[in-house]
């Protein structure tokens, strides 16, 4: 069934409008066979609508959706042959676990022995053997989640769509299920498109992450790239915490540029610089990339700062520090026994390569 493009899902210029309101606007991306792709974004960004258009619960207003090369844009959901796991599990409350899993097989007119085996197998895969006769309301949230997964897997779909499947579980179970889900996906080599608003989930499980905002795609990249090289303020801010400085490129040297921020601050910023001297840029810096020192040492960027606030997070400490020019900065330190106190002056050391530059559109270049 694999077509020559190697693409399990192709979304091309898809839009969804409700009256004059545009929920999804010109969205295009692909999912390759066996790949795990996440749609990540804040609530209302159009990620769930996009997923539901692929499943056929919502009809696209414009654009095309292909599954294994076949155009399914206007196909009703029952003809699409994709697995779907709902946020609220959507287990039919009047059917037992076994009946829930068997329903799709019965619709396909499989014989009884086959159905029995398949149900057994799916429940075994999801660790639910022995729960066949239970009703959904007699199961815990985690167990219901597994039934929902078993129900989708029983039909051996070539494609699994999941809509925030773990968001109704408590944190410990969510983390455990996340790992289990990922292992299962790898073992079955199941092409998966996964909607979540949880960046940790998206980063830890996905081969690639599609980040959406306001109905549009803002970034498609591998998790590492998304975090380390956000390329836009939105991504940098939505995924993790980021410090921003607005500055002007003053000089470009060998692999290192100089960016002036305000009157007093000069940053030495490393490689991958496309900006010309004199252009306005925004400098991004992850808080954990800053080293906090008690005394001045040698380094490319060595900044004096006053500690304003300290928050204890358990594994880390977060300092809020102020630079002489008034710029506030988050610094995350793993050395939780750090000796810095509020009001003290410390030294910040930042490698030039840890800065990221993005364009600052519309800013004065002078």
């Amino acid at each position: 069934m694999n077509d020559s493009t190697g693409k399990a899902i192709q979304v091309e210029g898809v839009c969804k409008r409700y009256g004059h309101v545009s929920a999804v606007n010109d969205v295009s991306f692909d999912v390759r066979h066996g790949e795990f792709v996440s749609l990540l974004g804040p609530s209302g960004c159009g990620k769930t609508t996009t997923l539901r258009m692929i499943a056929g619960f919502v009809m696209a207003s414009d654009g095309h959706i292909r599954i294994n090369g076949r155009d399914v844009t206007y196909l009703p959901p029952e003809k699409r042959e994709v697995g779907f796991v709902f946020q609220n599990y959507a287990l039919w409350p009047h059917m037992t676990v076994a009946e829930n899993v068997a329903f799709g097989l019965k619709l396909r007119k499989r014989d009884k022995a086959f159905i029995r085996n398949k149900v057994e197998e799916s429940l075994a895969v999801t660790g639910l053997s022995g729960f066949e006769g239970r009703l959904p309301r007699q199961l815990s949230g985690g167990q219901q989640q597994r039934v929902a997964l078993a129900r989708a897997l029983a039909l051996e779909p070539q494609l699994l769509l999941m809509d925030e499947p773990l968001s109704n579980l408590d944190r410990a179970l969510r983390v455990a299920m996340r790992r289990e889900l990922k292992k299962l996906q790898q073992r079955l080599n199941m092409t998966t498109l996964y909607v979540t608003h949880d960046q940790e989930e998206a980063l830890s499980m996905s081969d690639r992450v599609v980040i959406m905002s306001g109905g549009e795609i803002v970034r498609v990249a591998r998790p590492l790239e998304v975090y380390e090289d956000p390329q836009s303020e939105f991504v940098a801010d939505f995924v993790g915490t980021t410090n921003f400085f607005d500055g002007i490129v003053s000089d470009i040297g060998e692999g290192v540029a100089t960016v002036k921020v305000g009157e007093t601050l000069t940053l030495r910023v490393g490689n991958r610089i496309s900006a010309a001297p004199g252009s306005a840029v925004r400098v991004l810096l992850r808080p954990e990339r800053v080293r906090i020192l008690a005394e001045r040492r040698e380094g490319a960027n060595m900044l004096a700062a006053r500690v304003d606030f300290i928050e204890y997070y358990g594994p880390t400490l977060r300092y809020t520090v102020a630079l002489p020019g008034g710029e506030a900065l988050f610094v995350e330190a793993h050395d939780i026994h750090g000796s810095a106190q509020i009001g003290e002056t410390v030294w910040l050391s930042i490698e030039p390569d840890h800065f990221r530059l993005i364009d600052r559109k519309g800013a004065p270049a002078s």
């Binding site: 056929g56 029952e78 994709v82 959507a90 007699q138 129900r151």
Partner: protein, 287 residues
């Protein structure tokens, strides 16, 4: 202190309801064993004659009890057939359309029975609108007797029962998570199949609640048969009314009430067993 406050607040209502609901009901049971002297007055007694008079008479059993049950089943069934699609449609509407439809469904509940009956009489009587229209359209030549006939009773009981069915079904339909149907479509069910396999079974609690209300209402009805029935529409409620108010035979009317409640309870019990077996036991299963 707190318990005394609650007791003081509850006392008036509880007392009123005990004196004017519970005691009268018990009194009816007691009265049903009394003796009537030639339809004139009642003497205290302990006799089963009122029960044997009804239950021992084939005529009463067939023409009153069985007749009422049949009419109640028929009218309840028609109300469901009419009300189910309406509830299904209303559940999918929103905004102004929904408000208008809801108002139309609810209005018969707040407009008095006599008022509604008046409208139907205008439409259905011998020289009424429907007959004039049908004769003008040459559907039939002679006026058909709708009112003061069983037809009128059936039409009106359906009319009055339908809003209750729609309301209780709406409660059930709106409680169905839309993703239940989507999940069914996702695993390959057509709209039609998803309706019968998922939506329909999940509306059973609402249907059951509606059936209980409407069946009881129709089985015990006396006002509708009184207003539009023929003299031989011996609905049991109407017989109770006649015996009590026209023949002044309170013991017989009381025994009929006891029989009616017993019959109604038996039928509802059977229904609850049936629905429980079919689906409700599953939906209400404990963890």
């Amino acid at each position: 202190m707190k318990a005394r406050n609650a007791a003081l607040l509850l006392a008036p209502a509880a007392l009123a309801l005990t004196i004017f609901v519970i005691l009268p009901l018990m009194w009816v049971v007691r009265t049903s064993f009394n003796h009537t002297v030639d339809g004139a007055y009642m003497v205290s007694a302990f006799t089963f004659e009122n029960y044997t008079r009804f239950l021992g008479s084939g005529w009463y059993l067939v023409n009153t009890l069985w007749f009422s049950i049949r009419v109640a089943i028929l009218t309840t069934a028609i109300s469901v057939l009419l009300g189910y699609p309406v509830a299904l449609y209303i559940a999918g509407t929103r905004g102004v359309q929904r408000n208008v439809l809801m108002t139309m469904v609810l209005s018969p509940l707040l407009i008095g029975l006599v008022t509604l009956v008046y409208g139907w009489i205008v439409i259905f009587r011998g020289g009424g609108l429907l007959n004039s229209l049908m004769i003008a359209l040459r559907v039939y030549d002679e006026p058909v007797r709708y009112m003061w006939d069983l037809k009128g009773v059936v039409i009106l009981l359906v009319y009055i029962g339908m809003p209750y069915i729609v309301l209780s079904l709406l409660d059930s339909i709106e409680r169905i998570n839309p993703s239940f149907v989507e999940a069914a479509r996702n695993v390959g069910a057509s709209r039609w199949r998803a309706f019968w396999s998922i939506t329909f079974p999940l509306t059973m609690p609402g249907l059951y609640a509606g059936l209980v209300i409407v069946f009881t209402l129709n089985f015990s009805a006396f006002a509708v048969p009184l207003m539009v029935g023929a003299t031989d529409t011996q609905m049991i409620g109407l017989v109770i009314y006649r015996e009590a108010l026209l023949n002044n035979d309170l013991p017989f009317a009381s025994s009929l009430s006891v029989i009616m409640i017993a019959a109604n309870a038996t039928i509802l019990l059977g229904m609850s067993f049936l629905f429980g077996k079919l689906i409700l036991n599953r939906l209400e299963a404990k963890r």
